[in-house]
């Protein structure tokens, strides 16, 4: 059985596709991107971690059951030092603030690693938080210079 791509995975891939393309355009090829919720200590720094955490669906108007689907997207930038972290965060914020294209993906039986993508719409972005993650513990490098950007997204 092949499970079709859902909205959340489409959203995550759309974000990664956009950020990867922007990194190449701006010559920041050293910065890696990953779609994952759980940390993996094999990641190479600097890295931008992206995942959809949950969905919130506000009513469009009073008394209506029509809802606007919106999603909480978490992006964590992990750098090797404070300066690198600040610069990537600043770049990332500017890169995504005007939104990005939304693609839907479908399984490609011929080449499973290259799913078929279709441009479907535009993702709107609202910044919720943008803060350094400081945990007062003896941290490994992968956790030491972290900044979290959380977004409310819709399309």
């Amino acid at each position: 059985m092949t499970i079709p791509w859902g909205t959340i995975t489409n959203l995550e891939q759309s974000f990664q596709k956009f950020i990867k393309a922007q990194l190449i355009t701006d010559g920041l090829t050293e910065v890696d991107t990953v779609v994952a919720e759980q940390l993996d200590d094999t990641w190479t720094l600097p890295i931008i971690q992206i995942y959809v955490d949950s969905q919130t669906s506000p009513r469009l108007e009073i008394g209506s059951n029509l809802r606007m689907d919106s999603y909480l997207v978490i992006m964590e930038v992990r750098g090797r030092d404070v300066m690198e972290l600040k610069n990537i965060v600043s770049w990332l914020r500017n890169a995504i603030e005007n939104g990005l294209d939304y693609y839907t993906y479908a399984n490609n039986p011929v080449n499973p690693d290259a799913p078929t993508e279709t441009l479907t719409g535009r993702i709107g972005v609202d910044f919720l938080t943008n803060q350094r993650v400081i945990i007062n513990e003896n941290l490994s490098l992968i956790d030491k210079y972290r900044q979290r950007i959380s977004l409310n997204c819709w399309f």
Partner: protein
């Protein structure tokens, strides 16, 4: 639609309007704060992996009036005292990986890990099982629960509804 005010306004009109708006905004603020308290507590409790916890973290978040124009939920100084792991639970961390937990046992369970009791009990520090104790080594990072960001996202919706009066 056209609205026309005919005649002279009551001399207290502006003051009464100010009073009305102040009272309404104070009511809204209080409702927003108490709703945020409920939402963040629900988000924390929903992320619990093991049963029968003390809910110490969720209870540490409560709505508090700062002055007539502001309320807060989650006082950092207080959190750092009574639930100092609040950041680790929200953001996740690798800092415990490779470290030993203090000696104790899983209850229900046995000193050594037993898959039959996976997530059915809690680790009790200092307790023993037939005189035996176990000191587990943490192998996986603490996953992020994002309860703060979830609350902020949900409150954006709730604030609109509170102001609309549809809550």
């Amino acid at each position: 639609m056209k609205i026309q005010v005919v005649g002279q306004l009551d001399k207290d009109f502006v003051r009464k309007q100010e009073e009305f708006i102040n009272n309404l905004s104070q009511q809204h603020l209080k409702t927003v704060a108490t709703t945020a308290e409920k939402v963040i507590q629900d988000n924390i409790d929903a992320g619990k992996k093991r049963p029968s916890g003390s809910s110490q973290l969720s209870k540490a978040f409560f709505a508090e009036k700062i002055d007539d124009k502001s309320w807060g939920v989650g006082k950092i100084a207080f959190l750092n005292q009574v639930a100092k792991y609040w950041q680790v639970i929200n953001f996740g961390s690798t800092h415990m990986v490779g470290r030993h937990l203090p000696k104790g046992v899983f209850n229900p369970g046995e000193p050594a890990p037993n898959s039959a009791f996976f997530r059915t009990g809690r680790f009790e520090k200092g307790a023993n099982y037939n005189g035996e104790q176990y000191s587990p080594i943490v192998t996986k990072p603490i996953p992020p629960s994002n309860y703060i960001e979830r609350t902020i996202a949900q409150m954006q919706v709730n604030i609109q509804n509170i102001i609309k009066g549809t809550r």
